[in-house]
């Protein structure tokens, strides 16, 4: 790489950094306030007792049901991803992802999410009928 090219890279990197720094400086007050709140919430864990979805008495049953549901959905939704009825790595990876703590709650509220999606679509359809777009 020539000296000139390296100099060009270096100038480019400096300029990119400057642009990024300016964009950070321009962050609005609402975002900064939310970040401050998020920081305090994180720090509260230093003194809060460890809590987990697994401590809830109904969690094991809910998790088992959720795991079965996800397994069924992934299997039905992507049969081409199975070989001799077993899941490949991508499917199991999806499963692990969905069984993260925060996802369990989402899975246990699937009916609500499905209903919500239907409402959005109905709203969109109504909007088109009404000429709202």
């Amino acid at each position: 790489m020539s000296t000139e090219s390296r100099k060009g890279d270096s100038e480019f990197e400096e300029r990119a950094k400057q642009l990024f720094d300016e964009s950070v400086d321009r962050l609005d007050a609402r975002t900064r306030s939310k970040l401050t709140q998020a920081r305090y919430r994180a720090l509260e864990q230093l003194t809060a007792p460890a809590g987990s979805v697994w401590r809830r008495p109904w969690a094991p049953a809910g998790a088992a049901a959720a795991a079965l549901t996800v397994l069924l959905v992934l299997w039905l939704d992507a049969p081409e991803r199975t070989v001799n009825g077993t899941f490949d790595m991508a499917a199991t990876s999806d499963l692990e992802l969905l069984l993260a703590e925060e996802e369990l709650e989402m899975i246990q509220e699937l009916e609500f999410y499905a209903w919500l999606e239907e409402q959005v679509e109905l709203g969109d359809a109504q909007g088109v009928e009404d000429g709202v777009g």
Binding site: A16, L19, L35, T36, L43, Q45, L46, V73, L98
Partner: protein, 196 residues
């Protein structure tokens, strides 16, 4: 608020001192990185609320799992968590779409982050620059990079991390960081020309 809670916290005096000291140090660290981490998340996922959630989650995981580690390890650990959360968010969106479609009993296109990105006209960095500002153009150019190149560039140039720290955050060798980074710079310069 949180620091006040720290002062009320544990009963053992020695443990209390350690917790308070660690809390003050962690507070300073998070305060230093939070806005930059948010912008980095926003460049990657382009959704302000989700970017805030991801940064909060990364902060919570860092405090929960690594508060007792030496403070010099926090930065690479934090950015490694952030990077993983961004990647998980992108994958989760695909899986969630699949499940919702299944329960709604409808056919639909799978969520594709590439397809969801701005259209061809907006993707042209030079055009973007003409319409908007240079940072917009840079963000659009970054979106065109492979994930590992983007990560290397952002950690090295936006967060100012050295090669060793970037390697820890990315979970790869220092040689890989150098390769990803130099390719990223070359590609970005190609895309942006002399415009920024």
């Amino acid at each position: 608020m949180a620091l006040a809670a720290l002062m009320r916290g544990p009963t053992c005096p020695q443990r209390e001192d350690r917790t308070l000291e660690s809390g003050i140090e962690m507070e300073a660290f998070l305060r230093e990185v939070e806005t930059r981490a948010y912008r980095i998340a926003l460049v990657n996922i382009r959704d302000a609320d989700d970017a805030l959630d991801i940064v909060q989650d990364a902060m919570m995981r860092l405090v929960r799992r690594y508060a007792d580690r030496p403070s010099e390890e926090w930065r690479p650990l934090f950015y490694r968590i952030l990077k993983n959360r961004i990647r998980d968010w992108q994958r989760r969106r695909v899986v969630r779409g699949k499940i919702l479609r299944f329960f709604a009993g409808q056919e639909g296109e799978e969520y594709d982050p590439v397809a969801q990105a701005p259209g061809p006209a907006a993707d042209n960095p030079a055009d973007a620059l003409a319409r908007s500002d240079a940072m917009d153009a840079l963000e659009r150019a970054l979106a065109e990079l492979p994930r590992r190149q983007r990560e290397a560039f952002m950690l090295r140039n936006f967060e100012g991390m050295d090669v060793a720290g970037t390697a820890k955050a990315m979970g790869c060798s220092q040689g890989s960081v150098k390769t990803h980074h130099s390719r990223a710079v070359r590609r970005l310069r190609d895309l942006l020309g002399e415009h920024i």
